[in-house]
């Protein structure tokens, strides 16, 4: 994977810059874990006016720090210059546009697995609390990394990384919402049920009548009718006898 990091820097000349006769861009950028640090070295010669016979030297060192997202494996990463242009602004400022390529970046394998788990969870109605916590943690990590992005000479990877983060972020949020709905239903059931029943089964005998059964189990006809069809009872029929909480 290739990432491009652009830089723009205005350099103040010691004197008027009429014409750049030569200019070179070198760098000492080195990779250390997830950080790239070093300097851009810009040197060359210029004339104070385009008619000047003599040339002056210039030499600038621009410190650079780049932070690479933790999800990228930088083991094989190489650093090179993508592009370099310059322009003279107001005869006093030399503006340089530099793009650096971070090449051979790989997404870490465990990061890919996490993303796969998340996508399965999203379609699984039985998602549990642990998975939800894991996805929340993942989202927080990505957000923290995005917050590490610095503005001046230190650059976070580039926009494409933000896109990746956003892509991960969006399904996690959806997943979180669905899980919350399920959670609310389950707990509603538990909280709203103030008492619950134990049922027993009784087999109707030869001498039994409805009244005898009602008296025997001390329940009303209405309650018994809720659970059984009292009009079609015969000898040997099994009826449900609801009991009040013990």
């Amino acid at each position: 994977m290739k990432k491009i990091v652009p830089f723009v820097k205005d350099l103040n000349g010691k004197s008027n810059i009429g014409e750049i006769t030569s200019i070179a861009l070198d760098h000492t950028l080195k990779l250390n874990g997830q950080f790239v640090s070093g300097e851009f070295i810009i040197s060359g010669t210029y004339k104070m006016t385009s008619q000047s016979e003599t040339e002056e030297n210039f030499d600038y060192k621009i410190p650079v720090d780049i932070t690479i997202d933790a999800k990228y494996d930088t083991k094989n990463c190489t650093i090179s210059i993508d592009d370099f242009t310059y322009e003279i602004i107001n005869e006093e400022i030399l503006r340089v546009n530099i793009s650096v390529i971070l090449d051979d970046l790989d997404i870490k394998i465990d990061e890919i697995e996490t993303i796969e788990v998340e996508s399965i969870d999203r379609n699984d109605f039985d998602s549990n609390e642990d998975n939800r916590h894991e996805s929340k943690k993942e989202v927080n990590e990505i957000s923290d990394n995005l917050n590490n992005k610095s503005i001046n000479d230190s650059k976070f990877i580039d926009n494409s990384v933000n896109n990746i983060s956003v892509n991960i972020d969006t399904p996690n949020n959806e997943n979180k919402d669905e899980s919350n709905d399920l959670e609310i239903d389950l707990f509603n059931n538990l909280n709203d049920e103030k008492e619950y029943s134990i049922y027993s089964v009784y087999t109707v005998g030869e001498n039994d009548t409805v009244e005898l059964i009602l008296d025997k189990f001390n329940i009303t006809r209405e309650i018994l009718a809720d659970y059984n069809d009292l009009d079609n009872l015969t000898v040997g029929s099994k009826i449900i006898i609801p009991s009040v909480d013990e």
Partner: protein, 296 residues
């Protein structure tokens, strides 16, 4: 250059350093150092290779690209005298490998002759006028003084051209063949790079033409470091020039420039002094030629 990205992708470069220098860009990459320029001289290189001349950096681009990329040559320090001699040798070899004869009709030859005559007449009149003006100047500048002190040198060479161009024309009009060579046409000493081998660079102005153009440029720039007589002897030997061709070469080397004095006296003195130095060395060869002709 707007296509560094394109180049990086096409040639799988990883660029570590870029340097914009004159009209070229030097790119230091993981696969080596290269020089990029906007002109593609592929056809010139192809022609030179066919003719057996290979003293130039070989391009890695193809024929159809609008640019040229050649490997950067790490130059070794060579003193100016050595470099001047190497430059004349490599150009001698270039001309030897690329010469061809063009048959010209009488009108074309007559035009060449008449141009030489007209130039000589114009220059004679120009320097006579300058001499008269300077003579009438109350306080002459050092540059004026330098010019009038050496005005006879100018007259001598112009007279030689007027007389001997007729000799050349009388001979050539019977043969009608004129030698043409591939001219580099931009032979600054900085365009010869040397390490284990020699490389001529900057072929943008190369074309087929008359050999004196390259030679005059080298001799004018390097007269101080060269024994012009020896150099010309070697050149004539390597390229097997006939007596008529030698005369044509000498006529063109002796063709005096129109030197115009400017307001910058210092610069005028510097340029004039160099030019007179060159003309003196050419005048010595002309003197030897005159003696040889008069003996015969």
């Amino acid at each position: 250059m707007n296509n560094l990205k394109e180049l990086s992708n096409k040639y799988t470069f990883k660029v570590n350093k870029i340097e914009y220098k004159n009209k070229v860009i030097i790119i230091d990459t993981n696969t080596g150092k290269y020089v990029y320029k906007d002109n593609n001289n592929y056809k010139t290189y192809e022609y030179l290779m066919k003719r057996g001349f290979s003293y130039f950096p070989k391009p890695i681009n193809s024929e159809d690209t609008p640019y040229e990329i050649v490997p950067f040559i790490n130059e070794q320090d060579v003193d100016r005298e050595q470099k001047a001699n190497d430059l004349i040798n490599i150009v001698s070899f270039l001309h030897q490998k690329t010469f061809s004869f063009k048959e010209m009709d009488l009108d074309e030859l007559k035009k060449m002759y008449e141009k030489m005559q007209d130039d000589a007449n114009y220059l004679m009149s120009y320097y006579s006028d300058i001499n008269e003006i300077i003579d009438n100047t109350t306080f002459m500048s050092p540059a004026m003084y330098l010019l009038v002190r050496n005005i006879d040198l100018f007259y001598y060479l112009i007279t030689f051209i007027k007389i001997e161009s007729t000799t050349w024309y009388n001979e050539i009009k019977n043969k009608k063949n004129i030698r043409y060579v591939m001219l580099h046409n931009n032979l600054d000493s900085s365009h010869l790079l040397e390490n284990n081998s020699s490389y001529l660079i900057s072929w943008d102005k190369a074309h087929i033409g008359l050999s004196y153009i390259d030679l005059r440029k080298i001799l004018e720039d390097n007269y101080y470091y060269l024994d012009i007589e020896d150099v010309l002897e070697d050149y004539v030997k390597n390229n097997k020039l006939s007596s008529n061709e030698q005369l044509f070469l000498l006529l063109n080397l002796a063709m005096v420039k129109k030197f115009e004095l400017s307001n910058d006296v210092y610069l005028d003195c510097y340029k004039l002094n160099n030019y007179i130095g060159y003309l003196r060395k050419i005048a010595l060869i002309v003197q030897k030629y005159d003696k040889k002709v008069n003996k015969n």
